[in-house]
Symmetry: C2
Amino acid sequence: MKDVAIVGVGTSKFGNRADASLPELAFEATKEALLDAGVGISDIEASVMGTANQFLAGASQPGAIMASYLGLSPKPSLTVSDACATGSAAIRAGWAFVKAGIYDLVLVCGAEKMNEIPTTTAIEMMSLAGDPKWEVSQTGITDAGAYAMFAKSHMHNFGTTERQMAAVAVKNHKYATMNPVAQFQKEITIDAVLKSKVVASPLKLLDCSPITDGASAVILASGEKARTLTDTPVHILGVGCGTDTVALQSRESLVGLGCAVEASKQAYKMGGVSSEDIDVACVHDCFTIAELMAYEDLGFCKKGEGGVFAESDQTYIGGKIPVNVDGGLKAKGHPLGATGVSMAAEITKQLRGEAGRRQVTGAEVGLSHNVARHGTHCVVIVYGRK
Amino acid sequence: MKDVAIVGVGTSKFGNRADASLPELAFEATKEALLDAGVGISDIEASVMGTANQFLAGASQPGAIMASYLGLSPKPSLTVSDACATGSAAIRAGWAFVKAGIYDLVLVCGAEKMNEIPTTTAIEMMSLAGDPKWEVSQTGITDAGAYAMFAKSHMHNFGTTERQMAAVAVKNHKYATMNPVAQFQKEITIDAVLKSKVVASPLKLLDCSPITDGASAVILASGEKARTLTDTPVHILGVGCGTDTVALQSRESLVGLGCAVEASKQAYKMGGVSSEDIDVACVHDCFTIAELMAYEDLGFCKKGEGGVFAESDQTYIGGKIPVNVDGGLKAKGHPLGATGVSMAAEITKQLRGEAGRRQVTGAEVGLSHNVARHGTHCVVIVYGRK
């Protein structure tokens, strides 16, 4: 089996991108990744495209539209679609192609355009990732509704507070101001979060990630190929993927995501590392409670202590484990299919020491954690400089 | 890199399956594949789910709904979605996971439920796989419309006739009567095809594959694992994938599919075989003209001779290369995400000598050819008994 490394990354500006179509966003990210890797589009042997939601795209094979626009035909491609975990799922597929020795240089590009339709419709379309019988048809529960249930359970079981959740939003907005591609470029306060409009109690508007257009791309290379291209490859040390029941009522617990625990266990084992070794992490903070649960599911703190951990500043740069210093889904934005890829792009920059004002000094091992819907699916990837 | 073999296959009854939901169809196919392989669901290490169209499913992560219903959580999964080539694209991803040595036993299940919404709506949703700017928004071209353009071009360039195209439908309906899971169970005549209602001239109703609900599953194993499970593994010798521009107006030619030529070239090379070595093939006959073009693109006959080849009986059992003896998309049915998987299931049965009345005697090398939309994407797989 071959080693796999990231040799180029690119991320489009995230936000309301009425100026660009889905394939144009993919181009923006891919062009940057190619320049970063020092290769041309003709050097790419195969691609994996990630787009989460056909309803949002108004297209039933959006990956083909992207690959075609990028000038990749007649080369092999694959479209992956695993809701909000699509980006990392696409990397996982690309990683397997390189690891198997099938290709030596693979482009993975994730993109989503979420502002083409009214926000309420977009939220309804995303909610179609739930259990079709009960969650979609009967209760009409949205993603915010599901995460509100997680939050209520976490508060009930562990005494977690709305203020602790708000601390996540404050941190992620702070770091977004240091990330030029982030959707939001202003800091917020705990009070602003607590006073923002209730979306699904206890979650308020500023506890929620936004509707975002954007794309991100990474170029994966076999170890040998990577050595010919760069002196600073970022190695994919471990990849884990876990799943859980789609229906929430079938779960044993609503205070954490079983799929994330499973995915991290696999990724740590394959990478030969533990949570203690992680120097910087991008986790799936679609809602602030999701970041608290991620701290626990990934082993950054003990079960039930996520709230206290969030308030302790241990997830800031300089703390025990800096988390979402790119702004996270909350403030960088969350263009579904692009999100996981942009996490890999951020970790790559961090491990290369190229993250500018948000650099975690001396970061050698990084992690990304990307979740679908309310925990149906999770991909965790561990990255290393060596 | 590891060898990869198919050790179990199962296909649900194809047709209007108002009696079963999408995950129930997946269960029907998977149960049969597990029994065929002699393993339990707990032996499966990871899965790849293929569903083509979220609009048809009314769900934005249908693969997770299937995996959850099958009891596969917390195990790794991946959802692949490449329009009508989804099934083979899913196999290609599963094959990479096994080839890379990541898993030894992987379930690939493709499913689609197309009768939940009115047929006209379903056709509109499928048409969203076209070029968004010109084909979808401006001309509103459907799949039948695109293939009608291929047919007109082929007739103009090579003198191909409507009668020659009809011969494909007659053959495939004949063999469908020998396949218990096939949607149509009656033979038709050339005259019936020629007299059927025009859908998009020159294509008539009986030139078109139907709207179908169904699922199919294959279980992939590493060579070592396969040896512990069966004496008749079917080896995946070569896998190719090609793409083409989504927009038809960007193509050089409308008398064949560049993606299929590319995919077959890769698959033949990897498998160390040529078109001459293929004993039995399943090709993507979404419309009769598509099967004629496939004969040419795959090298079963020369360019332009597809029509004459179809009329010559060389694609019947006993001929040079029996094609679609399971009934093909035309008469077995075409549940998008399931189609490519059902091709692999058929070839597996043929190479094992278990195809009953439709058995191609002594078949040792088989091929499947699965195309997305009007040739945006194609996966060709070559299978061997040894």
